[in-house]
Each structure stands twice: as structure tokens, then as C-alpha cells.
Symmetry: C2
Amino acid sequence: MSDAPAPERPRRRPSRSSRPGRATDYGHLVNPFEPARVMSDDQVAHLHDAALGVLQDTGVKVLLPEARRRLAAAGATVDDDAAVVRLDRALVAGAIASAPATFDIEARNPARSLAVGGRNLLLLPVAGPPFVSDLQRGRRTGTMTDFDRFARLVQRTDVLHGMTPSIEPQDVDLRIRHLATTRSTLVLTDKVPFAYARGRGAVADCFEMVRLANGVDHDTFLSRPFVWTNINTNSPRQLDVAMCLGIIDFAEAGQVSIMTPFTLSGAMAPVSLAGALVLQHAEALAAITLAQVVRRGAPVIYGAFTSNVDMRSGSPAFGTPETARAAIASGQLARHIGVPWRSQAASTSNVEDAQGGYETMVSMMGALMGGANVVLHAAGWQEGGLTASLEKFVLDVEMLQIVAEMFTPLDTSESELALGSIAEVAPGGHFFGTEHTLQRFDTAFYEPTVFTRENFGQWTEHGAITSAQRATSTWRQWEADYLQPPIEAERLASLDEFVARRAAEGGADLER
Amino acid sequence: MSDAPAPERPRRRPSRSSRPGRATDYGHLVNPFEPARVMSDDQVAHLHDAALGVLQDTGVKVLLPEARRRLAAAGATVDDDAAVVRLDRALVAGAIASAPATFDIEARNPARSLAVGGRNLLLLPVAGPPFVSDLQRGRRTGTMTDFDRFARLVQRTDVLHGMTPSIEPQDVDLRIRHLATTRSTLVLTDKVPFAYARGRGAVADCFEMVRLANGVDHDTFLSRPFVWTNINTNSPRQLDVAMCLGIIDFAEAGQVSIMTPFTLSGAMAPVSLAGALVLQHAEALAAITLAQVVRRGAPVIYGAFTSNVDMRSGSPAFGTPETARAAIASGQLARHIGVPWRSQAASTSNVEDAQGGYETMVSMMGALMGGANVVLHAAGWQEGGLTASLEKFVLDVEMLQIVAEMFTPLDTSESELALGSIAEVAPGGHFFGTEHTLQRFDTAFYEPTVFTRENFGQWTEHGAITSAQRATSTWRQWEADYLQPPIEAERLASLDEFVARRAAEGGADLER
């Protein structure tokens, strides 16, 4: 037979509104699966050693003199003319030893604080696209209105554990953009904020705003993590001024840097996956070493973004088999050095179609199987990261909820084994009406948000629309249902006073 | 930073046609990942024991008297009035002991023969839908023309390892349909055929056709596997006449039965996942026991199809988190009894959209993480199995190729570590022009079939079409490129003579 018999429908049950709904809580996820491996332990050690060799023999170009001075003081060999820093094995080993394996990041709402590392899985939305799209208005330049919209959508979505600089609001001047986006993050959400490292002044502003929103004094702020950033090295083997400043400022303040080499295999990294991983590992270790030299024990995350170019066009590609293999390998490398690992769920597709779904899922599968601690870009990423799509955001959230549900332990207690129910139902009968079923039916299964389970006739009758088309009304409904989280009036006032003052002063000088 | 810098494009390379392409071979896949677990070993043993208890205390209804007689002769307790058979633990333990953990299935083209079990992963296309769809002609009743088309598409797709009864050709009378579909399978493909168990006469016809196509004598045919079937129990706890006959006839002939309980949690199985798995396991063990009683050592596969109903409609749902958890659990149960495991890649969506992609991938992820040996319905399944979509077939094949590529071992040999190349490229430079890159660029990365990597401008210029829309021209091209595999004239003649004679005799009586 062909697995295709259609089951009878159940007898009509009480209408849904009169029954209790299924309670879900995706706020704290622990991945129960053993991490997958694409390398033996020997291969991991060999690759790690190769990266140490690159750091010791070839070195990394560090564009900020202050960073070179700090590394030199810690024992690195510095060629100031070439701006090249060579890190010997002992220096890197010391940095690895002092980087914490796990740490917490405190949110202004304690229920939203994050545990980073171990088996914890943190999911973050897309960060950084210049464009925004939805099916009704198409693809357009991102604005502050869009940023605020994403903030609201992230706030109401518990499977997203922190806020990011979701899109670039290009209607806000760059000198004050960080003030606008950080205020939006801190007021419209109560989740852990994510700040860009675009220069000393902007970072200081963000820190002060986070401090004010959390209502803590300066010493408390410096004593534990409240905010994180992403540090992209300028692969190959280069750390620019803004990134060096970011590493230094975040480490000094005890805040979190995610060290993410931009190792696109075949472009900014070797075309061989092992070579790209050697470069990724070397660059991540260089950035981690700088952070640890600045402050022993500074919280850092091993960011791994290794992907590959398309062979025909040279464009970056995401959701490829190479990205999934690189992700799993990166997890092994991160665990080898005992630092939490950040991955992503990315795709190449320009539209919310099957390709986009498959690619995001392949990327997510690499992160999930590899045991990622943080998955950035997990909702809304489209077009290789150039666009944040509102419909893709909804579709991805559905996928993330499904992944979260997969983590549910299998309950094999006596009542769940249902032996009485199995004996009670006659051969060839059905379980619709058993007491065992009626007790559990409303709460047994995940109930989809935007994926339809209408049969073909119902679906056709309702317009034969795709999941992406349905997602438009979903995000509109989510936005309409949004509730702004409470914030103490005093904190809000101090935040707004700070923003107004800094904007009046002209904002911050930027380092790109 | 936001991970979003766009890389420079490579210098123009020689046009693709003048360069060697990337050779791929997905014909023999070995899953390198350790199987994931959703239960402890104790839980697995406990669930197994619970299923043994169901078989011993409650029993299974077996509608075929011959099957009851054979089981009684082997020591089962049979209540002929109720048609209920109770199997004690020792009888089932003996059956488990005699079922082989691995075996081969021989194709008429030796290169297409299959190794079942261990870490081998076999991917099979959709089987059984009454409807066929493509984007141009829409959804329609399946015909023999469609069946032949799927046969051609499966033949040219090396990531699909066998043929299935892809769709129901309803323009062919049921009494002769097995003759038409088996001939199409054996002539248009050289892959292992898959026959339905729809009664003794039809099965005998299929066996004879497979024997003739393989050019072997009767004793040889009976000595090793050449064909497989799927046995759906009539859950709960029932084996109908056709399925009993199928188990007996396949076992007697030494051919392969995939024992697949139709345990839809909340309908034909308990609403609790553990309960559905107990029932699935009990029913699979009952079917396996019948096969082993008929012939010790008969090749069998543990089929696991446990899914859940939708809470609102009572309809079956696929690609749910419950199906993925059930799949991983099923892999543990199959390994516990030492029998190969069959899973599937199924979805609920009515259309080739993001939902369809996500659901198929969630289902595939359960199979892949769980270490499935056979994944049925892996290409073309749509609408909960009611439709075989030609575009979904193409999209799924792309996904399967990506999964196959994920299995590539990570090569960490010296040349792949690219240390010379890393030292050669200046900081902030690129690897486009290095010798290391040029040597590997054409062959380094998976090249997609239907997923586009055009940037937004190119993609818009080319019509802004979705991956499903592109897939229409892909399957048309595949069909145009199809090459019929060679078959000895004598075998073809004997096959056609047989089909003509049996059709003239009126075909076969069916058991449903």
C-alpha cells in the first residue's frame, strides 16, 4: 500500500473558543541533541594547530595602533610599519583559557535575560539589511518606521530571544542612528539589546543608554554583560579600526563581542572548506585574543559565518551544503576552545518561496545539528542578507517554533504509553472518542501559526493563497496585537533626556 | 557589524562551457552523522516491552485465516472467532532474531543495486497519490502518461535510488494496472522496482515480471531480494487480507516487505506520542513476526509513519515537530530490534511554497538526524500525499542533492588547509586569483539545479519568478533529456509477451 488512506474525521468537538488553548513557552530553549561532527578529534586539533601557525607565522593586520600596542604589551610580535601582528601559541592559549565557556546577559526584564553557552540555544532575528520588503509594498529602503515595526514583532515573539539592529533605517542620519535604534530596542522591547561597533562615541552612547534602561549604576554595568555586538573581521587576516575599537570597548566594559570572520570561501577565504575554516579560526582567535588582552575573562562568542561564493557569478551563497558542513565544523572548533558558538539561518533566495524555505532550513539544520548556542538572522533574512522580509519573518518564526517543539522530551510515563487506550479501541477503530484522547486533544500537538492544514478543497475555496501571502495578514495582526512592555517612568525619562542631549550635540563620529 | 558586506566580484573567468564541469555521484549515500536520540536506552527498552505486552495480552486482529494458521503453528494464541492473534514474547523475540539487519536488493542494472541497513541512506520518490499536478495544467487525476513521466524523471535522477508506484494511473483498469506500472518501472528505469501488495495474483505477476526483466531463473529469484513492497497495517491492531497475503508472498519469495503501521496520533493511534509509538512498534513487530514465521531470515524493514492529526480539523498533518520526534524515536526502536528503518519526507502544504519546503525539510531532518536507511516520498509529495507535484519533485531533488553533499567528508589534508594561499593573499585582499583557487574553482562547490543565485536586479530582470515556476522548465528539460536505459531484447520480449498474455486473461483479482 501507499501510505495514503485518508482517515475518518473525528466527531465534532466543542468549538475551540470554549476550550483552553495550548500553552507554549519558547523563551528558554535547550538543544537536547548531541552535536554532530564532520571532523574527527584529530582533525579538529590539526585544524586548530594550523590556525595557530597562521597567527604565529603570517599574522594578522591590525589597523588600530592602540590595539597593536595592547597586543605588543601582552607579548605579540608587532610590525608597526606593516601594521601586522603575530601571535605566538602561548599568547593565544592564554586567551583561550581566560575566555569564559558560559555567561549570562541581563535584560531589563529579568525574565528575558539570556544564558549563553552549554546546550542553550538562543535565536535572534535578522540584523543589518539595507532593504525591507513585504508583499504589498515590495522591496524598499529601510526606515525607522520599519525598525520600530521589527522591534514590535520581535517583542511579541517569544521564540526570538533578543533584539538586533534588524534593518538599517536610512532616513536617520548615521551620526544619530545608533541613538534612534538603541532607544527603539530599549523602549519597544524588553529583550537584550544588540549594538553595532561603529566607533568609540557611538558605543559609549549605546552603553550609557543600556545602563539607563536597566537602571544600574556604572560599576554594576561594568560588572556583568547587558549588551552584545558582532565583530566582522575584514577577511582575510585584517581587523579594521572600528572593529578593533569595538573589541576593546566591549571587553573593557565586560560586554559581549561575537567574533565573526567574514570568510566567504572562494572570495575572502580559500576555496577549500578546510582552508576557509583555518582562516575563520585564526581570525576569530585573533579577535578573541585582543579581547582577553584588554580584559581577562571578557565574554566572547565564536562567530562562524563561513559560506561560499556561487561558482558562476562569484556572489555569496547561503543555505548551501558547504555552509551546513562549515557550521557543524565550526561548532567542533568552538567547543575545542571552550567558547560559545554563534551560527545563522541564512538563504540566497530573493523571494519568500520554496527555495528560501529550503535554504534557511539547510542553514538552520547545520546550526541545530552542530549544537549552536546563538543563531543570528534566524527570522526575516532574505536575498543573501540584503533584505529583511516581513513575510519571511513570519514563516521563519513558524519554523523556529517547530524546531523548539522538536526539543520537547519524549514522555514515556505510564499514562503517555496509553496501554489502556490501546486495549480499549477495537482493531481498525479509532481513538477520537477515548477518554485518553479527549483529555489531551487540545494540548497534544503544536498548532501552526501561518502554515495551513486546510485540505485542497477548503484551501482552494479560500483563494488558493501561498504561505507567504498568508504571512502578510499574520505580521499585520501581530503588529496590531503588540503590547509595549512596561518601563519605569524615571528610566524612560533619563533615556529620552540622554538621546535628546546627544542628538543636540550632533551625535557621534563614526568609524567604518 | 551586520555580516552584510558585499564581496567584490571575481575577475572574469573562462566561460563555463570551455571548462570541465563538477562531477557528482549521489548513487550511493552513507550518512556520516551519529543518530540522534529522543529517548534514553531505558526508555527505548521500556517502550519495546510495552509493545510486547500489547502483542501478548491484547493481540492483533489478523483477517486472513492462512496467516492466523501460520502464526498458530508457530506458537501464537489464536482466537479464530474474533480473528485475534496474541504473540508471546518468545515468539516475537525469535522473529526479531531471525530478521536480517542488512541485505542487498538487486537491480537489473547491477550499478543500481541497493544496500539496505547500516549507515546506508536510500532515497525514494513519492508513492501512491491519486492526483498529479504541475503549474501549467494544475491538479488532475493521475494517468499512465504521468506514471511514465515520473519513471523517466526518476531514472535520470541519481539521488533517487529506486522507483516507486509514483502515482495511481486511474485510466488503467485496476485488474491490469499492476502490469502497466511494473512494465513501465522495469523498462523505463533500471532501478529496483517497488510493487504493491494488492492480492496474490497481482503480486505473482509482479514477481514474474521482475524475474523476467532481471533475466534470472525461478530459484535465483527466490534466493535473494529483487523487489520491495510497503505493508500498511490497518491501525489500530489490524492486518487486512491483502496485507497478510503481501507479507506471506513477499516472505516466501525472499523479497522485501516494509512494515509500516499507519499510526496517525490522535486518530488511528493514541494522541500521546509515546502511545502512538507503542502501537506502531507492536504492529510492526506483528507484521515482522508473520514474515519470519513464513520464512526465517526474510528481509524486512521497520516502517515508521507516525504523524499527528491537526487539532482543528482532524486531518492528517505532515512535517510537524511531532513527526520529526516520532521519526527519531522510530530510528531508536528499529536499531533496538536490529532491522533497517524506513522514514519519509512529507508535507501538508497544498502548493509548492515556503510551507511545503519547510515541512518537507522538517520531516527530512527527522529522518536524517535519526539515521533512516530508507526515505520514501522524498521527492514530489504534496498535499498530505494526495498529489504528486512535478515542480515539488524538482525542488525536492535539489534538497536531496544538498543533503547528499552534506555527507561529503571534510578533507583536512595539507593542500586543502591552503596555508600557502592564506600566507600569499594580502590582508583585506581576496582569493579569486590564487593558483589554489583557480585549480579548484569549477569543482569546489555544489552547483544548484533550480535554486537561483541571481542577485535581485538580475532576478527581477528575468521575470522575478519563484523557484517553483523555474522548476516547470527543469522537469520539462529533464524529460526531454531522458535516455531509456538499455534492456536485452530477449528480456523485453518475454516481459511484453507476459504482460500481453496476462492482460488478455483479464489481469488479476484484487484484494483491498
